[in-house]
């Protein structure tokens, strides 16, 4: 066991945009930061997105420099492929046990050249591409992954499953592949903890009438982002999963599992109106002749520049907004086209619309791991399973445990700007805690 001690250090759990922002804020102010991420690379959900709203900037182009900065910052220690196991102590002196899962690649030796990932014979669906694309059993999740270190997927590697192959080891010029690596437990002493573990998307197959997983051309918005992305499984071509054809007509459906008291969740997922608008514009950018429809209940464009964005989508891009939540989607079994049954609630007409592709905007839901982490940190969850803040108005990033802060989507659905703002807020609150602890000790 390695014991790291540091006087004024902060643990950030979760390496998405919120965790990255909080880490950089703290590190730039001279504090030591441990950034723990459970997957092999930092980047989180934002890294999976193609563009951001309302500016239509390339998502990874904004995020990647920040990711690299995290990696290079002298004050930040990246602990990727790691999980928080146990937390004890209190504000100013938390002791955190962290499990570093074995990558079976020596982090100090791997140069990220990628030879192993090219030659590995095992092809598996890529988690980063929401299972639409492939990766190898030794892999880097995406081209801009940070750190640029390969990871072996033990469950699918031929050496681990059948004791054969070892091609990666033979080809690695840096001699970094180490099949003997064991999980490593480290203990960190930190003054404050920031939780930024993000969210999951509801599996929309619970809204049975929309046919997700039954109909090939019904996809989720996150799947759409990967299809639209140049480094995604189709090289940036938004195509139908049934036949690879570029769709002429695409429909987006809002509030799939959000804002209901029955199936799904009762809250508004807050980002869908905007990202659906963005994705609709992306389709128009790719294929200007295509027709795009957005089925909504209410358009919630509450951020700065958001309403303008929707107006532009309507006027400049010709995106058709239809007020009404479809009651049923049927698939034409021969063409795999989809027929949407919807009431246009403004004109009170019930119409059928035949489209080539349907994109569902599922509810943001809490991560399943929240429960365990909340027990470890002794912080509360709200009625839905998100982390609960002390006071949503006056202490939005504080928890019931002094010194533990929450930011980003782990405490509720929100967009990127809000997540970043909360992250900076959480970093500032952590600095306060450290200063107070230092003063107390000085007295």
């Amino acid at each position: 066991m390695i014991l790291l001690t540091e006087d004024s250090s902060v643990l950030v759990i979760g390496g998405g945009v919120a965790g990255i922002q909080a880490s950089l804020d703290l590190a730039d102010r001279g504090f030591r930061v441990y950034l723990v991420e459970e997957t092999p690379s930092i980047g989180g959900r934002m890294a999976q997105l193609d563009k951001t709203f309302p500016t239509l900037d390339c998502s990874i182009c904004i995020l990647a420099p920040k990711m690299i900065e995290c990696f290079r910052h002298p004050n930040i220690t990246l602990l990727t492929y790691s999980e928080v196991k146990d937390v004890s102590g209190s504000v100013g002196k938390f002791a955190v046990k962290i499990i570093r899962k074995p990558r079976f690649v020596d982090e100090t030796k791997c140069t990220g050249c990628g030879t192993c990932t090219q030659k590995c014979p095992v092809v598996e669906p890529s988690e980063f591409d929401v299972l639409l694309g492939d990766r190898k059993a030794i892999y880097m999740p995406f081209p801009q992954a940070v750190p640029r270190i390969a990871t072996i997927d033990k469950d699918n590697c031929l050496y681990f499953t059948r004791a054969v192959c070892k091609i990666c080891q033979k080809l690695c010029q840096a001699d970094a592949v180490d099949f003997e690596q064991k999980p490593q437990e480290i203990t960190l002493n930190v003054s404050a903890i920031i939780v930024a573990t993000g969210f999951d998307l509801l599996n929309p197959s619970v809204i049975n009438e929309y046919g997700y997983q039954r109909y090939k051309n019904v996809i989720t918005s996150l799947e759409f982002e990967r299809l639209a992305n140049a480094s995604g499984p189709t090289g940036g071509h938004v195509t139908r999963l049934s036949d690879g054809r570029i769709p002429d007509k695409v429909a987006f459906i809002q509030c799939v599992g959000s804002r209901g008291l029955g199936r799904g969740v009762s809250y508004c997922s807050s980002a869908c109106c905007m990202y659906a608008t963005k994705e609709a514009i992306l389709i128009k950018e790719h294929e200007p002749d295509s027709e795009v429809f957005i089925f909504y209940i209410d358009l919630r464009a509450s951020g700065k520049g958001f309403q303008d964005f929707i107006d532009r989508a309507k006027e400049n891009w010709g995106i058709q907004y239809i007020r009404g939540r479809p009651g049923e989607i049927l698939e034409d079994p021969r063409t795999k086209d989809l027929i949407i049954f919807c009431e246009h609630t403004v004109s009170r007409e019930v119409r059928e619309l035949r489209v080539d592709m349907v994109v569902l905007c599922p509810a943001f839901v809490p991560k399943e791991s929240n429960k365990k982490l909340s027990e470890n940190l002794k912080i509360r969850l709200d009625e839905y399973g998100f982390f609960k803040n002390e006071d949503s108005m006056l202490a939005p990033v504080d928890t019931n445990v002094p010194g533990v802060f929450i930011c980003g989507c782990c405490q509720g659905p929100k967009d990127i700007p809000e997540s970043v703002a909360e992250a900076s807020g959480a970093a500032a609150r952590a600095v306060e805690v450290i200063a107070l602890t230092a003063r107390k000790e000085a007295q």
Binding site: N208, G262, I297, G327, P333, T345
Partner: protein, 494 residues
């Protein structure tokens, strides 16, 4: 919440009275404030497809909050078929059908509708414009109570009107409609989908022949729906009317046995397949073939043919759909002493119409959840007991409902002398040529908008496409098919 009672306007003492009445009927009144008017209910509603001008549940519900008294006098209030499709899809699970049912009763009981009979006549006229069995439909959807002593004021008024209408029908002389087209059309199956399509097509001037395998026409309306919900006399009269209009119905004619599908293709310009879903699914457990195990459809069929099958004293019904409810209630009426329904998921996942469930329970039928049979035990080749296992619910399966998982070691035995299996029905499509494409569930693949199958000129609709569904959905399919066939014949394409 009770002070607000949803979204209905307050102030007017009469309105307040209605509000109280509604909340007394425990209609999740506090949920009503959450309606976002998303339109899911209307988009999913099969009644809207048939009566687009008269009915829109969302608008109707919305109007109820603006001018409740006016709504009580509108025709739309009487059109809801109580199929619960809206409830299943509503983000908030609002029970619109029950709200409309209550509003109907309130309208009558509180005197908002002084002349109920003429209102009901008006409804029958609206129904008659769209399909040929307004009385059957009204009997099923207005649901007059079978037992005289339990009938409400509304039930009595409804029955009066329906019976008077029935008598008028019998007296009416109907002349056959002129045949303006030469084309002959075949319809396989004389259930609600087939009859509706035949009626539409005969009115367009086509020569229509319906082929029915059973001795009498009506399909599920005749053999699937119990007598206590629909007197057979009503069905007979309305089918007679369709016949009088010039539709030929050939009963006792099974396609694939008495006639081949290919011979139909030669003689008829277009074919509509509306054979329904009459094949009972099996449980695949030990002991399913012993004496005392019956399929729900067989029981209903026999009971409907007045054969009075004799179920035992202690009956167990396996399943949670409408057929299970019908079979259980029929068994009770045939003399069973105790009827238990076993369903493998919980009440929430039950596919049966909640109102049917409620009525079954009111009849004294007990419903046991999270149970499934493992083995049917017999003695001297007669059912004596059933071994069951308890279930728990796992994550949702592809139907969107939570998947039941057996709890090993929780087996127990229930004593009974009759087991009725009501675990779903599927279509029998063995008579179809290979060119007609089928799904994995053995239903027919059709274009959802035109109902054309993979074979040109052959259309299909109703349960044979959707799997077991409701009468109103079959009616909607029959109407769509008729329009598509007309377009196909006149324009050579759909």
């Amino acid at each position: 919440m009770s002070s607000k009672i949803g979204r209905f306007p307050s102030g007017n003492p009469r309105t307040i009275k209605i509000q109280k009445e509604l909340s007394k009927r425990s209609l999740d009144a506090e949920k009503l404030v959450y309606c976002y008017e998303c339109g899911t209910c209307t988009a999913a509603c099969p009644v809207v497809k048939v009566f687009p001008r008269h009915y829109n549940p969302r608008v109707f519900f919305e109007k109820a909050s603006l001018d409740l008294e006016k709504v009580l006098t509108e025709a739309g209030l009487w059109l809801c078929a109580i199929c619960y499709r809206c409830h299943k899809r509503c983000p908030h699970g609002l029970k619109l059908p029950e709200i409309f049912l209550s509003l109907r009763e309130v309208a009558v009981e509180q005197g908002y509708l002084p002349d109920v009979p003429s209102k009901l006549e008006e409804i029958l006229t609206i129904l008659r414009e769209e399909f040929p069995f307004p009385l059957v439909y009204s009997w099923l959807c207005l649901r007059p109570c079978e037992e005289e002593s339990k009938r409400s004021k509304l039930d009595n008024l409804v029955l009066d009107v329906l019976q008077r209408s029935l008598a008028d029908y019998k007296k009416k002389e109907v002349a056959p409609l002129p045949k303006v087209h030469r084309e002959k059309l075949a319809i396989i199956g004389s259930g609600p989908a087939g009859l509706t399509a035949a009626w539409e097509l005969v009115r367009m001037g086509f020569q229509v022949t319906i082929f029915e395998a059973l001795p009498e026409p009506g399909g599920m309306l005749r053999v699937g729906i119990p007598e206590y919900r629909l007197p057979k006399e009503v069905l007979d009269v309305e089918i007679e009317y369709i016949r009088d209009l010039g539709v030929e119905i050939r009963t006792n004619t099974t396609i694939g046995k008495d006639l081949t599908f290919n011979s139909l293709l030669k003689e008829y310009k277009a074919i509509f397949i509306a054979t329904g879903a009459h094949r009972s699914r099996t449980l695949h457990v030990e002991g399913e073939d012993i004496e005392g195990v019956v399929h729900a459809l067989d029981l209903l069929h026999q009971a409907n043919l007045q054969k009075r099958p004799r179920p035992g004293e202690k009956v167990g019904v396996v399943g949670g759909g409408n057929t299970a409810m019908d079979a259980a209630r029929t068994a009770l009426r045939l003399g069973a002493k105790e009827v238990n329904i076993l369903y493998r998921r919980s009440r929430e996942e039950m596919p049966a119409n909640p109102l049917e469930v409620e009525e079954a329970e009111r009849d004294g039928i007990k419903i046991h959840f999270l149970l499934t049979p493992r083995k049917i035990l017999g003695k001297n080749k007669q059912v004596v007991a059933m071994e069951c296992i308890r279930m728990r619910l796992g994550p949702p399966d592809e139907s969107g409902r939570r998947r039941p998982i057996p709890i090993e070691g929780s087996e127990f035995t229930i004593e009974l002398d009759t087991t009725i299996l009501a675990i779903g029905e599927s279509p029998d499509v063995s008579f179809l040529p290979e060119e007609v494409e089928l799904t994995e569930q053995n239903t027919i693949v059709v274009d959802p908008l035109t109902l054309e199958t993979s074979m040109s000129g052959v259309f299909a609709g109703g349960d044979v496409v959707s799997g077991p569904a409701t009468v109103i959905e079959a009616i909607a399919a029959g109407k769509t098919a008729a329009l598509s066939i007309d377009r196909y014949l006149r324009e050579g394409g759909v």
